[in-house]
């Protein structure tokens, strides 16, 4: 049988975000994959060079809608390093608390998405319902469900009260019970095993070869965790285990994430019980000196890497962000080779992708453009600028 090239995306019913996979098939088996991203590229790194550090604090948080806090922690850590300041213990604990609450809601979300991709929507309904517990806790402390706006250069903006601590511990008790149930389901449920076992294999040598990150490599038996290897915030004093499995398949990636939920709960309990007294924010100099700094965190999806180069002005000279999904993309090609076409969605979902990238071609059906006419990025941009200008906005 001859080989068939099948384009999936950028717009496709099976995809949740715009990306393109050109899959070469031999019968039902995948033999090669070409991945194209960039459909929602927003130019944030360029934009940051024309914004002040305070403005960038808010921009960085909007890189991702799920692991927003990992980005903002990296940014504040970078600026604080260039300034040469040390934030208070209490602020470090609160940052770590938010990092782990974020991991909890992200892992619950992912478990639901994974269930959905294999047609197990009950799991999706259950986990997303439980995720609300975490969202409520985040909202209780910060006032926000998603972009918490907790950090400032020099510490955090909101304190954790006695009442908050009690509520967080109650929430952890409930979530631990639920997580025990999900562990049972993930290991024993036949529908999951049938779709996840021995699917999307990533051998340890390939995980290393492509510099993959996070739960994706830990499910291939590689013990890498930035929280343990290059500790930041209060991870030096917080007890937790790095979870790995050696099954190298989608099931392994499910198991790693489910077990990481227990570790996060353990960390959160420790933080709440040992929260040191003190100020939550230290005074920082207004002027950011010339310098450079690297900060990376273990975001829910893996290593999130930021680089700052400052030039002594109020705006950064260069700011670089590498999100975990980009690091894991080359490994997807390896995982997909030899799998069935029907398994492509779950294998892709197993890295927990979060595509941050710019729409370029759209079918417009209103305004001055002809219905159904395809317009390129430049004309779309001019159209947008004009649309806003007519409504009194300035570019």
């Amino acid at each position: 049988m001859s080989r068939v090239k099948l384009p999936i995306g950028p717009q496709h019913p099976a995809l949740k975000e715009p990306e393109n996979f050109t899959i070469t098939l031999d019968g039902e088996r995948v033999v090669d994959v070409d991945i194209r991203i960039g459909y929602t590229h927003r130019g944030i790194e360029k934009l940051m060079e024309s914004r002040t550090y305070t403005q960038n604090l808010y921009l960085v948080e909007r890189i991702c809608g799920i692991c927003s806090y990992a980005h903002v922690v990296n940014f504040t850590q970078n600026v604080e390093e260039v300034l040469g300041i040390q934030i208070s213990k209490r602020a470090e604990y609160i940052r770590t608390l938010f990092l782990e609450l974020e991991r909890l809601h992200s892992h619950f979300l992912w478990l639901g998405v994974a269930g959905h991709e294999i047609g197990f929507d009950t799991l999706f309904m259950y986990t997303w319902q439980d995720r609300e517990i975490v969202q409520d806790l985040l909202e209780m402390i910060s006032g926000n469900r998603v972009n918490y706006a907790m950090n400032t250069i020099g510490g955090v903006r909101r304190d954790v009260s006695e009442e908050h601590r009690k509520k967080v511990l109650e929430g952890m008790d409930y979530l631990e019970k639920r997580a025990r149930y999900y562990k049972e389901v993930a290991i024993n449920e036949k529908t999951i095993l049938a779709r996840a076992e021995n699917v999307g294999i990533l051998k340890p040598k390939d995980a290393l070869k492509y510099s993959a990150v996070g739960p994706t490599v830990r499910a291939s038996g590689i013990t890498v965790d930035i929280r343990r290897d290059d500790p930041y915030a209060s991870y030096t004093e917080t007890p937790f285990d790095v979870i790995t499995t050696d099954t190298c398949d989608v099931l392994g990636r499910v198991v790693v994430r489910v077990l990481e939920i227990f570790e996060s709960i353990k960390i959160i309990r420790y933080l709440i019980e040992h929260l040191p007294a003190g100020e939550i924010v230290v005074k920082v100099p207004r002027k950011i000196p010339e310098g450079e700094s690297i900060s990376h965190t273990e975001a829910p999806r893996g290593e999130d890497f930021h680089y700052l180069r400052s030039n002594g002005t109020e705006k950064p000279e260069r700011y670089k962000v590498r999100t975990p999904t980009l690091a894991n993309l080359p490994a997807i090609g390896e995982m997909l080779k030899g799998t069935y076409l029907a398994d492509v969605p779950i294998v892709v979902a197993a890295i927990d992708p979060c595509m941050g990238c710019m729409d370029r071609i759209l079918l417009l059906k209103h305004g001055k453009e002809k219905p159904g006419e395809i317009i390129d990025g430049d004309r779309l941009r001019s159209y947008g600028i004009k649309w806003y200008a007519e409504r009194g906005w300035k570019a």
Binding site: I37, G38, H41, G43, E45, K46, E81, L208, K209, Y210, S211, A212, V224, I226, R228, D229, D230, P231, I294, H296, E303, F305, Y307, R309, E317, R318, K320, R322, L326, A327, L329, P330, C357, M358, R360, D376, G377, D378, R379, R381, S382, I385, K386
Partner: protein
């Protein structure tokens, strides 16, 4: 200093190494020595993880930073190429994980990694003709009047 840091400084002692703080080591090399240096990291120190590649326009040249991770220590190899002839050897043959990062460099700053197996656009549109957005003299394309 940890044993990993000591080992790194020992192996790289012939090179201009700077330890900026705990777990942050920088090495500056001319671009002709890039592959040699990265080979040392790979073969002698057994570095296996490339975190990413950063590049920036300094005004006079393009500075390129290769960030590696070894047991929690970030080792950054710093090199530079000229703005007019922005070529540098690809490191894909040593670190296959560099394949997308080098495509991104090419997109946003016009750096050409020599010997890259598949140098297509990554983040910018296929029909992009607006230049290299992260260069400091870059201006956004002007709005065309229709």
């Amino acid at each position: 200093m940890t044993t990993t840091e000591e080992l790194i400084l020992q192996v790289l002692r012939e090179l201009p190494v700077q330890m900026k703080r705990d777990r942050r080591i920088f090495i500056s090399v001319p671009k002709d020595d890039l592959l040699k240096t990265i080979n040392i990291l790979s073969s002698e120190l057994n570095v296996q993880h490339l975190s990413t590649i950063t590049a920036r326009d300094t005004g006079s040249e393009i500075e390129i930073l290769y960030h590696f991770l070894l047991k929690g220590v970030v080792i950054t190899v710093r090199t530079a190429c000229s703005r007019d002839d922005p070529t540098v050897d690809t490191i894909v043959n040593i670190f296959p994980g560099a394949v997308l990062y080098e495509r991104e460099l090419n997109d946003i700053l016009g750096v050409v990694p020599k010997g890259h197996p598949d140098l297509k656009r990554l983040v910018l549109p296929d029909d992009w003709v607006g230049g290299y957005p992260l260069r400091k003299d870059w201006k956004p394309p002007q709005e065309s009047e229709e």
